[in-house]
């Protein structure tokens, strides 16, 4: 990149964003996108472990076919809690609100987001709704599953359905505000010379995600509001007793909740593109194609929701339409996988922890993707719908995909966020454990699914036990892999080596400022003159320093 760096001559002269203020007020009332990003990081980490605790209990209960660890009602509350917390309070906000918040303005050369106060409001709404949700999920719980299907949720469930729905409703505002902020920022606050096709793919990904957030979330809000009214009044728009159609709820719900899957996976794709380019020392293969693929996934993702409803009694004609669209949306995803692989071709690949996570992502995402095709195929879905096959499929995408990418991004940008390096060996170990543990946990569930074990069963026929035990054993590896980073990343905050401004010799504006970045990101507004990922050609590579391990 022909961009000069924008590090102040004496970096001690300018305060970085962490040292700009110290009191609790300087955090709680901050409008700095970097601080808010960190605060979101704290929040989503908290919710990740809440959701993870529920998952642990579920897997423990399933060790035994009779499910004697917890009562059926308790089990139902656990998987509802796992679903609600993981979907709305971890997966959807994870990458956008933390890495997106922190790096979007940095990567486009802006001083902050367009609406910093809205950004802070979004964090408060997020926490308020999260705490509300967790509180009601703990006291009494909710026994509807995260999907809140009517008429179970509106008329029959006994738990705290109303407060939980309200929490998700409020969470939606947080999501919309964040998405709106990102869209406006990307449009209006790009640095001079930062044209659309000079944007890093992570920015494209966050932009596409934000579009989905602002256009899908309101429908969920309306759906939950209508469901809540039905529960509150005892009669409502989905009530079969007056001729209402329970499938209408599902249409509206999945109009949000299917695109929501793309809210989870698109940012992950963005992170992985950055990481693979950096550690293969090559521009992302087919950059424009990758950007178009992100946008088309975001748009076509709205045409496929009905594939959650093939066996529900929806019109068969609709089923055919939705299945067709689901196959179409898989094409851009396939393109992305091919392009990542092509990026590796003739690169200078190193296997730092972020790269290991990213390569793991590509593998797991592919497995999740092709099994997605299996369940998108109409007749196969008749058998596989609502079995563990579906559970395995979407965990491959969301946990294998999104969470791996989240960790990839977290490690990749850790030096920029904190100014410290993480311990490489521990991080590689965690990355390998994640991949191994993940496959052990969820691959057996494909088999369980085809054998016909339905989801949301607290007890199951004994012949399925061996696969369930295998799955639970894998989950224990996964648990270690997720707790490990908490320890060594925490350690690195105090004892990690100081990172320079660009420890990976990466391109991108975020590496052109000091680590941690100064309060307003850049001392001088950068001017961009070239495309992203300008990693040197192999011929000139010899000039680069051999060991990229940065000096302390």
């Amino acid at each position: 990149m022909t961009v000069t760096t924008f590090i102040p001559a004496k970096s001690t002269a300018v305060k970085n964003y962490l040292t700009a203020g110290f009191g609790i007020r300087s955090w709680l009332l901050t409008t700095d996108h970097k601080r808010i990003g960190l605060m979101f990081f704290g929040s989503v980490t908290f919710f990740f472990f809440i959701g993870g605790a529920a998952a642990t209990l579920i897997r423990l209960d399933l060790l035994d076919p009779a499910g004697r660890l917890v009562q059926p009602d308790m089990y139902n509350r656990l998987f509802t809690m796992h679903g609600v917390v993981m979907v709305w309070f971890f997966l959807i906000p994870s990458i956008p609100t933390t890495l997106g918040n922190f790096f979007l303005p940095l990567m486009i050369g802006a001083k902050d987001l367009a609406f910093p106060r809205l950004n802070l409001l979004s964090w408060y709404l997020f926490n308020a709704s999260g705490i509300l949700a967790v509180y009601f999920l703990l006291v009494g719980g909710v026994d509807t599953g995260w999907t809140f299907y009517t008429p179970l949720s509106s008329q029959y469930a006994t738990g705290h359905v109303l407060p939980a729905a309200m929490a998700v409703f409020v969470n939606g505002f947080s999501s919309i505000l964040t998405g709106l902020n990102f869209i406006v920022t990307t449009h209006r606050l790009r640095a001079p010379g930062m044209t659309w096709f000079r944007l890093p793919l992570f920015v494209w990904a966050i932009y596409a995600t934000s579009l989905v957030m602002v256009l899908a979330t309101p429908v969920l809000a309306m759906t939950l509001a209508l469901m809540s009214m039905e529960r509150f009044l005892g009669i409502g728009l989905f009530d079969p007793a007056i001729g209402g159609d329970p499938l209408l709820f599902q249409h509206l719900f999945w109009f949000y909740s299917h695109p929501a899957v793309y809210i989870m996976i698109l940012p992950a794709m963005g992170v992985v593109s950055e990481v693979i380019a950096c550690y293969a020392r090559k521009p992302v293969f087919g950059y424009r194609g990758m950007a178009y693929a992100l946008m088309s996934i975001a748009v076509i993702g709205f045409f496929v929701w009905g594939h959650h409803m093939f066996v529900t009694g929806m019109s068969l004609y609709s089923g055919v339409v939705f299945s067709f669209m689901s196959f179409i949306v898989a094409v851009p995803s396939a393109i992305k996988v091919f392009n990542w692989i092509a990026t590796l071709h003739k690169g200078w690949i190193t296997f730092d922890a972020p790269m290991l996570y990213a390569l793991g992502f590509v593998g797991l995402f592919t497995t999740g993707g092709v099994t997605g095709l299996v369940v998108a195929t109409l007749a196969a879905d008749v058998h596989l719908h609502d079995t563990y096959f579906v559970i395995a499929h979407f965990h491959f995408i969301m946990v294998g995909g999104t969470v791996s990418a989240y960790f990839a991004g977290l490690h990749y940008w850790w030096p920029k966020i904190t100014g410290r390096l993480y311990p490489e060996m521990w991080a590689r170990l965690a990355a390998i454990l994640t991949f191994t543990g993940f496959n052990f946990t969820f691959f057996p569930q494909f088999i369980l699914g085809y054998l016909g074990m339905p989801r949301r069963y607290h007890a199951y026929p004994p012949e399925f036990q061996v696969w369930n035990v295998l799955s639970s054993a894998g989950a224990s590896i996964l648990a270690i892999a997720y707790i490990l980073p908490l320890a060594y990343l925490g350690w690195s905050l105090l004892y990690g080596k100081r990172a320079g401004s660009n420890p990976w010799h990466a391109t991108g504006l975020e590496w052109m400022t000091s680590s941690p970045p100064p309060e307003h990101n850049f001392v001088r507004t950068p001017v961009v003159t070239s495309a992203p990922y300008a990693y040197p050609d192999p011929e000139t590579l010899a000039d680069e320093p051999a060991g990229r391990r940065p000096q302390a």
Partner: protein
């Protein structure tokens, strides 16, 4: 305040909107058969178009505002269009 060209435009738009409202109410009582569900929606769409173009200042050079104003309605059409494929054909199949 000077009575400029803009104000005249606003007032004309307002008058047209009221006129359309009048037509809508009058047509409601005419026997127009199967159209009675569509005509009011068509008139409402026209009114909405006028409000957005003139009162919300969308007319003029193409701009980003068009994209997002259009996006809301385009996505609404996805929702209505695809969900109605179900409601239009649910009774028809299985044959």
């Amino acid at each position: 305040m000077k009575l400029g060209g803009q104000i005249v435009t606003f007032v004309i738009a307002w008058a047209v909107l009221l006129l359309l409202l009048g037509i809508n109410v009058l047509l409601a009582y005419q026997p127009i058969g199967g159209l009675h569900g569509f005509v009011p929606i068509g008139i409402a769409a026209t009114q909405a178009f006028i409000i957005m173009a003139i009162f919300m200042k969308l007319r003029g050079r193409p701009s980003l505002k068009w994209v997002f104003a259009g996006a809301g309605f385009f996505w609404l059409m996805i929702l209505l269009g695809l969900s109605s494929t179900d409601y239009m054909t649910r009774a028809a199949w299985p044959l």
